[in-house]
Amino acid sequence: MRHLSEEQLVLYYYGEGDGSPAVRAHLDSCEECRTEYAGLQRVLNVVDSAPVPERGADYGAQVWNRLQPSLGGRRRWTFSILWPARHWAAAAVATTLIVAAFLAGRYYPKAEPPKTANAGQVRERILLVAVGDHLERSQMVLVELVNAHPDQALDFTSERERAGDLVAANRLYRQTAAHTGDKRVASVLDDLEPVLLEIAHAPDRLTPEDLEKLRQRIEGDGILFKVRVAGTSVRSREQKALPSAGQKTL
């Protein structure tokens, strides 16, 4: 007698497939398969024991109340989830301070030496934090694309919007890095920019072929590796640029 396969038993357990009567008949007459099926049932029944926290009848209304203010605007929830609020706050502060530091440097170049040195340190650290965050965010977008399932179409809206945001920031940081003489960071950002642009201008849904091309582009240029290495280096310098550390370029 030919016994039932594990696949047949799983399908039977879930009521799938059109062979249920035949499987039932076999189970009635085969002790070995019955034992096997009982084992499967025990395991899958145990899996059900993991509880889910209950949500009340008004949960939908609560969700709506939280959701409604966002529906009219262009707030990007995906990003807010993938990138925690504290990072947003840090980025906002960093960006404000960068602009302030830039303007201070531009319009008050002849400040007293001790104050200038201090401002330089602060400015350097702020830039490192901002560039480090930028590289981290860029890396997240690239990793998500590289790790996307190769055989299925990909809803690309979220990654595309994030890449669009990153392009403008990348341009600013690249120019700043070039201006401060940090050739290595400037070079990585220079390589990153066309990749981000390509992602930002991709269609909403990527076919497996589009995705593969993009993946080859990312992997072929080694851009993910470069971004990762530059990010680690910047983070390390960020730590060293704490108030007691000496001055360095971006």
């Binding site: 879930y14 969700v63 959701l67």
Partner: protein, 191 residues
């Protein structure tokens, strides 16, 4: 008379936010359950529900009216959950475990006094084991299994939700069940 999903979708597309509200209120609890099964965290599941509806709202014009709105929402929620799981994995890969996290669970060191299934369930060991195995599954296996086992979705719908052929969805479920059996059978048999 209660609006059907398809009527509510059509009205929401025409700019009726009240119709979209009906869809949100109707599907939130199911989405939370799916998101919790996928992520294993209440807070993450809450975020996934919010994000799912926001993405759905922004992509409403692209929704094919011939399809099921619920299945479409499930697909978005499954993708949002996977996004979150990926990010969480990446973050944990970059963080060294604290001594507390690295230390063995003291409960596991206690002598095993012939546990019954009830006791096992009560002690949470089975739940932990199930959670461990689910976390070890590939994204496709986990999603397909959650949709089939917990949500009762048929294999064809799972394939549509994941954007794969039914056969691929079916094999993902098999692999997930096999891994669960390997991990849980000794525990269940011993009890």
């Amino acid at each position: 008379m209660e609006l059907t999903d398809s009527v509510a979708v059509a009205q929401a597309r025409a700019g009726d936010s009240g119709a979209f509200r009906i869809l949100v209120e109707r599907h939130s609890r199911n989405l939370f359950r799916l998101a919790y099964r996928m992520t294993g965290h209440q807070e993450d599941a809450e975020d996934v529900v919010q994000e799912t509806f926001l993405r759905a709202y922004r992509q409403l014009a692209k929704f094919d009216e011939r399809a099921s709105f619920g299945t479409w929402l499930y697909r978005i929620a499954a993708n949002c959950s996977l996004d979150l799981i990926r990010v969480r994995k990446r973050r944990s890969e970059h963080q060294e475990p604290t001594p507390e996290e690295g230390a063995p669970d003291p409960i596991r060191l206690l002598p095993d006094a012939a546990p019954t299934p009830d006791r096992l369930a009560l002690s949470g060991e089975v739940e932990r084991k199930v959670a461990d195995v689910l976390n070890s599954l590939s994204e496709m296996e986990r999603t397909a299994f959650v949709l089939r086992h917990y949500e009762g979705m048929c294999i064809d719908d799972i394939g549509r939700t994941l954007g794969v052929q039914p056969n691929a969805a079916k094999h993902s479920i098999f692999r997930a069940v096999q891994k669960l059996r390997r991990a849980l059978e000794p525990l269940v048999t011993a009890s």
